[in-house]
């Protein structure tokens, strides 16, 4: 008997005035936790409920000189969980608060049963909030000046107040009311008022636009893809009674199989009467593309033909053919390896990072861009996709060989005094054999047709050097090469 009285004396009954007032709960919890009142000694309730321990000990004052630190994450989650309809939520929050005093990392232990329960409740509140945003259906009431929008919704939890600002942000320019059995929210265009619960009798009647909405719902549904379970997982039946479109669902499901089968069984029909006219008017002109098997008659024609080039499989993954660029009377032709990511997107050679280096070097060497033609040994970008990026792959000998068709035509039409091979792939293309570029750098080889070919590195080589000083030195050598090229031009 004495023992029982002792227990009763330390029991605290906390009755919160409202269901969702976090500040009120926090105040009570702070008083209790700083006095180290164990969770088992507290009975929590909210609103007008009757309970057995209503006459427990009064709440103690916050203990002086006790600090109670909790992670911000706890506050955020607790503010959501307090909206849950489960009456045990206050006790759960207190239990976790109490444990956080000595287990500061408790919330990271997602496998702890209390923490799991917390996450579960929070998720349930979040889902309820989300579903309210989705399934509230406004009905237009009144006319002219008095036009407003009203909705009836039945949430699982006490979320009206927490969710109302969303509707303010979205429907700022409208006057609206959302009625629910757990409270109402009203917006007049300037002020938000959260009010007491409403009943379904207050709900507005349907409006004319609902009929258009049902027309849309019926026709956007594809009967050949019936997946009722998937629909119900996201739109559970409990919401259906307040959705104007939901009444159509049973009939749509019933008729789906037949509708789908009819589509499949119906024989293909004759083309529509206007079809022949459309074909004649719009498509008769451009059927056959240029034949790329014969050499082109001009540089422009070659460029046009190359657009549809399938001489090697690289066109499959690339965006477009990147043909050379520059005047047809250019004195020098620079040949690079292949377009990179930027060039592939832009459709122009040497516009990416290596192109920028190249431009800078030409400028420094005093080579006049107006008398140069810039192209690549291979005209399509070869790469390996890696997530959101594309990793450059080196073209193989077959691909280089296939693309010589175009390089040789470019050289044939331009007839430059000098071709500059930027890197090994370009040298291979221009001289039709493998060339050790680092060894023969700076040398000039003369082809059988008399064209002189200057050998140097590809500017991307400079970009790949990690050490800054080394990269600078390499760049200086490249500038020197370009100065040599310029001298050869003058000669």
């Amino acid at each position: 008997m004495t023992q029982a009285r002792a227990i009763e004396q330390t029991r605290h009954a906390v009755r919160l005035a409202t269901q969702t007032d976090f500040a009120e709960w926090r105040d009570a919890a702070r008083r209790l936790a700083t006095n180290v009142v164990p969770p088992a000694d507290i009975v929590w309730s909210a609103g007008e409920t009757e309970d057995l321990f209503a006459d427990g000990a009064p709440l103690p004052d916050v203990a002086p000189n006790v600090t109670l630190n909790v992670p911000r994450e706890f506050i955020d989650r607790a503010e959501a969980v307090i909206c849950h309809s489960d009456p045990t939520r206050f006790a759960l929050l207190y239990r976790i608060l109490f444990r956080l005093r000595i287990e500061p990392n408790l919330l990271k232990i997602a496998s702890d049963p209390d923490v799991m329960k917390l996450y579960e409740m929070e998720k349930s509140v979040r889902r309820d909030i989300h579903k309210m945003r989705a399934f509230v259906r406004f009905v237009e009431v009144g006319e002219g000046e008095n036009k407003r929008y009203a909705a009836w919704f039945e949430p699982d939890h006490f979320i009206i107040e927490r969710n109302a600002p969303f509707f303010v942000r979205r429907f700022t320019g409208m006057a609206w009311t959302i009625l629910t059995p757990k409270g109402t929210a009203e917006w007049d265009g300037e002020n938000l008022i959260v009010g007491p619960p409403a009943t379904k009798a207050d709900a507005p009647a349907a409006d004319a636009t609902e009929d258009l909405w049902r027309t849309y719902f019926t026709n956007i549904f594809n009967p050949a893809r019936l997946k009722v379970k998937a629909m119900q997982a996201e739109m559970p039946k409990k919401y259906w009674k307040n959705l104007p479109e939901a009444a159509l669902i049973p009939d749509l499901i019933k008729g789906a199989d037949r509708a789908a089968r009819e589509m499949i069984e119906r024989m293909p029909t004759m083309p529509a009467p206007h079809h022949a006219k459309v074909q004649e008017k719009y498509w008769s002109a451009n059927k056959t593309p240029a034949d790329a098997d014969a050499p082109a008659g001009s540089l422009d024609e070659a460029r046009k033909q190359a657009e549809g080039c399938h001489r090697c499989p690289l066109w499959r993954d690339a965006t477009q053919t990147v043909f050379g660029e520059g005047p047809q009377d250019a004195r020098i032709v620079f040949v690079g390896e292949q377009p990179g990511d930027q060039e592939d997107i832009a459709g122009k050679p040497f516009v990416g990072p290596a192109g920028k280096v190249f431009d800078g070097v030409l400028d420094e060497a005093g080579v006049d861009r107006r008398i140069t033609y810039v192209t690549n040994a291979v005209k399509h970008f070869k790469f390996e996709p890696r997530g959101k990026r594309r990793i450059h792959s080196k073209p193989n000998a077959g691909e280089v060989q296939a693309c010589r068709w175009w390089v040789e035509q470019e050289l044939g039409f331009i007839k430059p005094d000098l071709a500059v091979a930027l890197g090994a792939t370009a040298a291979q293309s221009l001289l039709d054999k493998a060339i050790p570029v680092t060894k023969m750098r700076g040398e000039v080889l003369t082809r059988e047709d008399g064209l002189r070919v200057f050998i140097t590195i590809h500017p991307s080589f400079i970009l790949r050097i990690r050490e800054r000083a080394d990269a600078e030195a390499e760049r200086a050598r490249f500038v020197a090469d370009m100065v040599a090229v310029k001298k050869m031009m003058a000669a």
């Binding site: 320019g173 265009g189 499949i264 459309v278 459709g347 890696r386």
Partner: protein, 411 residues
């Protein structure tokens, strides 16, 4: 021809739009109407306002401006040779429908596409005008997705990006050969170049300008595309190859796979079958493995002789069964990349396990609380107090995990 009411047109032009899979409204920049006093907001996460019995979410008013079309793509209900009933909305009708639906919270935006009439620029011009009227005249802050017509002029594309949250161009089919065969008037080369142009525009505008240091608005929700699955003979390996190429090349937010669905008044060039929905589902799973689980596309289909994904089990389980040497994985020690490869672990479960691991060791029951189904996971992991023993290599593992065979229904 009798005059069609808005309701008749809505029936025709939503029916015509339903074969486009995307209804996403996520990923847009945050925006609300507090300042403008209009209506509409986008807050990152998309909201599905309803679901049709096909299990697809309805978040946008997805319609065509018109289903008249000069193209004759055999898989499309709107092709010029189709006998489908035709209709055309006025600009005003689309604007009004969007606003009226939005105000009732039926939708959170507009997804506007169109058949091509007369010329690409003329059609695109009307699409852009609808977006402009909504944004500027009506102060509409909701989501706008515009289907972009590949051949339209750069000026129209620029404006489209200014008003829309997302732009998309459909690649239509996984291979260029497929496009040439089934959509003879479409030019796959032009489609690629248009996607490239969109990427450059999006990149260019995401850089702050020199003068104002502000970013200009251009399709903040990025670009996406769609391809039809099962209308031609392309296998899953090649489809995933195409997706990998598209993600890498054009920075797409999403590639949508749309199981070829029989359409009323179908062309004889196509298989008249039920849409391969399971195949579509497996492709989405494989797509996720590539984007969020660190899988290379080659691994996913390696060992599948016909280059097709296993329809019976998901691609991750399929990979695990073919690579049992990599298991069991110790949940207390394995790196994130390896945890992501365990069948039954999602990215969220993995994150939680990594968090818990910093403070205490994981037992099997802990893992059970963090993932969906411990039965599926058990044979592939080691946890405190748990080792699968020979279960990882058991011959019947696949049969056990697949469960009872479903009896095929007579059709």
């Amino acid at each position: 021809m009798s005059v069609l009411s808005t309701r008749d047109k809505l029936a025709i032009l939503s029916d015509a739009a339903k074969y486009d899979a995307s209804c996403a409204s996520s990923g847009a920049a945050k925006r609300n109407s507090l300042k403008s006093g209009g209506i509409g907001s986008t807050e990152g996460m998309g909201i599905c306002h309803s679901y049709a019995p096909d299990g697809r979410c309805i978040s946008l008013l997805k319609i065509l401006l018109t289903n008249f079309c000069i193209y004759d793509c055999s898989y499309c209900i709107n092709r010029s040779s189709s006998n489908v009933k035709r209709a055309r909305f006025s600009i005003d009708e689309v604007v009004r429908l969007t606003l009226e639906f939005y105000k009732r919270n039926y939708i959170e935006g507009l997804f506007l596409s169109s058949g091509i009439i007369r010329s690409p620029d003329e059609t695109m011009g009307e699409i852009v005008e609808i977006a402009r009227r909504l944004r500027v005249d009506e102060k509409f802050g909701g989501y706008i997705h515009l289907k972009t017509i590949p051949e339209c002029s750069p000026e129209l594309l620029e404006q489209a990006g200014l008003y829309a949250d997302r732009l998309s161009i459909n690649v239509e089919l996984p291979t260029d050969e497929g496009v040439k065969r089934l959509a003879p008037e479409k030019r796959p080369e032009t489609i690629r170049v248009s996607m490239a142009k969109l990427r450059s525009k999006i990149e260019e505008k995401s850089e702050p300008t020199l003068k104002t240091k502000k970013r200009q608005r251009f399709a903040p929700g990025g670009q996406s595309t769609q391809m039809i699955i099962g209308a031609d003979a392309t296998n899953d390996a090649d489809i995933l190859g195409t997706s990998a190429r598209l993600y890498g090349s054009y920075q797409l937010r999403r590639v949508y796979y749309s199981a070829f669905s029989p359409i009323p008044d179908a062309s004889s060039a196509l298989p008249l079958l039920k849409p391969p929905l399971m195949r579509e589902h497996r492709l989405y799973q494989a797509d996720w493995l590539m984007r969020f689980y660190g899988f290379d596309r080659h691994e996913i289909v390696a060992g599948r002789q016909d280059g097709m994904l296993d329809l019976e089990i998901d691609p991750k389980l399929s990979w695990a069964l073919a690579n049992r040497g990599a298991f069991p994985v110790d949940v207390n020690r394995a790196p994130r990349e390896m945890l992501l490869r365990v069948p039954g672990f999602g990215t969220k479960a993995v994150k939680k396990m990594l968090d818990v691991r910093r403070y205490r060791r994981l037992r099997l029951e802990d893992v059970g609380r963090l993932c969906q189904s411990i039965a599926k996971v058990r044979p592939f992991i080691v946890a405190d107090g748990w080792s699968p023993g020979g279960a990882t290599d058991a011959e019947h593992l696949r049969a056990r995990l697949v469960g009872k065979p479903i009896q095929l229904s007579l059709f």
